[in-house]
């Protein structure tokens, strides 16, 4: 396959700084620190709390959306150490020491990220619910150098379902956003 697989696997292990804690976490709440959008957050979560629910329900970062909670729709996509992952399929406690980027962390103040601006300009969404995931997947795709043409974009972006059917415009947005990011 490709090089992303082993790296994704390591992103799912407990941080080396806390190996002893690994065997005794939970079942009650544990104190962890998550780095989200460059800010450190202390929070107390049960080990069974997904990264998605920690972001939404504990940190009130509701830009990350829950669409299926089963890893099939991509609405919950966030960047963990720059890789796009489904935050519903991983636990918050597994991400101590990781750099997590959510949709709230992409723009610089009022200045939209080039990919965000491209989505607005090309109308790459309708209801907007899958959009945070689409934008973050697109950003990761471009940074990983997978922008090798329209077919590649369509294939690589297929983990993010847009039920409104905005794919034609998403394609245009990703194409243009990639140009702006270069």
């Amino acid at each position: 396959m490709d090089s992303a697989i082993p790296e994704l696997a390591t992103a799912g292990t407990l941080p080396s700084a806390a190996p002893a804690a690994a065997s005794i976490l939970g079942p009650g709440e544990v104190q962890i620190e998550l780095e989200v959008n460059g800010e450190r957050h202390e929070l107390s979560v049960e080990p069974r709390v997904t990264l998605l629910d920690a972001l939404r329900e504990r940190l009130k970062l509701t830009g990350t959306k829950k669409g299926c909670d089963q890893g099939t729709c991509g609405a919950c996509t966030v960047l963990v150490n720059d890789r796009a992952i489904d935050s519903c399929l991983t636990l918050a406690v597994m991400h101590v020491g990781d750099r997590i980027t959510t949709i709230e962390g992409l723009a610089s103040g009022e200045q939209l990220h080039p990919m965000q601006a491209a989505f607005v300009e090309h109308d790459g969404f309708q209801c907007g619910y899958c959009t945070p995931g689409q934008v973050l997947s697109a950003v990761a795709l471009v940074r990983e150098g997978r922008m090798t043409g329209d077919d590649a974009i369509r294939e690589q972006m297929s983990g993010n379902i847009c039920r409104c059917g905005a794919y034609e415009n998403i394609l245009a947005a990703v194409r243009d956003g990639a140009r702006r990011m270069a």
Binding site: K65, C68, V120, F125, Q126, G128, E155
Partner: protein, 688 residues
Amino acid sequence: MNLPLVGAPHDRLDGPAKVTGRATYAADFSPAGLVHAVMVTSEIGNGRIVRIDDAETRRQDGVLAVLTHENARRMHPEGHGFAFALMLLQDDRIRYDRQPIAVVVAESFEQATYAASLLRTTYESEPPITRIEDSADRYTPEEIFDEPADVTRGNPDRAFAGAPVQFKATYSTPVEHHNPIEPSATIAEWEGERLTVHDSTQGVTNARKRLATVFGIPVSNVRVISPFLGGGFGCKGAVWSHVALAAMAARAVGRPVKLVLTRPQMFGSIGYRPRTIQSIALGADRDGRLSCIMHDVLSQTSTFDEFVEPSALVTKMLYAAKNVRTTHTLARVNAATPTFMRAPGEATGSFALESAMDELAYAVDIDPIELRLRNYAERDQSENKPFSSKSLRECYRIGAEKFGWSERDPKPRSMRNGRMLVGMGMATATYPTNRAAASAVVRMNEDGSVVVRSGTQDLGTGSYTVYAQVAAETLDIPIERVRLELGDTDLPPAPLSAGSMTAASVGSAVYEAASALRERLRKGEKAPIEARADAKPQEHERYSKHAFGAQFVRVEVDPDLGEVRVRRMVGAFAAGRILNAKTARSQYLGGMLWGIGMALHEVTRFDERTARIVTANLADYLVPVHADAPDMEAYIVEEEDPHVNPIGVKGIGEIGITGVAAAIANAVYHATGIRVRDLPIACEKLLR
């Protein structure tokens, strides 16, 4: 009228909020003291609950309440019309798979989810009937959308018997689920007898009324808020059980409660597109001129409520024929109540009718567009009224030209791209223009900024942008000065965002309010100033009102595997005034993409022994993903309609899907010589 015929392609005003995560959907709110509810649903499809053992559930940390039929309050869940009957834990009866049977409330979502998983339910199952073919419980509904279920003009049976060319076939469409990416979500909060609900609803005004009825409280005691909606497509139109259950749970624990459906529960109690079996008979002369059309529809409804998929309504109007019969029959099965799903009736009906027209075109050896032109309806023969406007000829012409229809060799299996079989197909698209009463207030502040207030919704349809455009253009000010307030029952009432009627309804109200404001400003009144309009459709329509379009599709079919890939789609649509060229195009494209799902992917499968749905997730229920999307083009065919409504718009949210499934089936026939009359067109149906 200051409004241009095709509105400027403004970016969505809510675009920045949507790409930064600032747009707040129902589940994003967190009132102080919020706790979490999880709905438990039935594991059988027909029968009764013998016992629910909740001892383990109640013992879990954080659990605040367990609601079942044994302790739930008596409610008013009865259905009437499009307010469908609700399952509010009122009895032990299981009527369908995934019916709500309990609600568990806990401090955290995880606690509620785990505790709910420990509930042990014992059932007594009864053998179900899941297929309409097997249901003996059939009847003719009294009416469909205020129209009679069965309509006849002329003498279709005699005309058919005497027709030189006779064509008969049966088409079928499966159960489909809407699957917006935002699951239905409700946050309910009581203050005494006053209920506030954040709900993902296509109609705050409607939801408010229904909740008042269900709880037996005055309408003025209920407030419903829905600033953004993560797609609806019909399944968030009616109020469904979970909304009331969230409010029941909030009352039980005395705190605000959030209840979000799981993805599998999105296949439960929120409606679906019902299965249809449709018989079509066409009688024509050898030149393809229709003398007769008969369209008989059998569709499913639940054992306890009624929804009619109005597949044959389109057939009464679309083509000129002296003798027409359309009928609708319902069959009761052990399933939840179906509901509206993007172009209810037109999507399923156009698959049958437009496939049949293609088959007739081959039977008489006439080009499919030419066949349609020979049967062009100059007036609505069913209503015996002129059309308010109809630009279907232009749609055929422009669509064919953009698509390159002239390159088509009509002979099946005649075109190839390498080893792939190439097929080109077309079909007519149409959707009626609806309108309902809507109110809006337009206010100009002292600084010249303008606020438009209306209790409508934004499903992704562009409400925040297009009504700002209507106000800005009417007042002749820049759109940047206009702000929308919507999605709240504290605002002037507006109808459901459904039936492609919001632009006609709310757009007319905003236009009338802004026009009144402009008049008063002209007479010298100064800001701050506001005007309200309560816009209503005419009581007696002099015209038949429909949007029309033409769909063109190119497919490639793998001759060994039967895999169908749509490679290109062109749609040309005439729908009166277009408020925003950019968002309109997006909606057309979205509808067309839905047509791909309908034609090739989407089917909800039932285990016929248990009536359980076995495809209740997005891995087994396939919707089009990005790699399924072809190159797509949607063209706006300019059309001025002075009769249809004050702003001359026809609505565009649903027409995009109509005709697509037929156009794809027609293209697949052209590619392979195999006619698939049962959706979806799965590869096994093409392997010979």
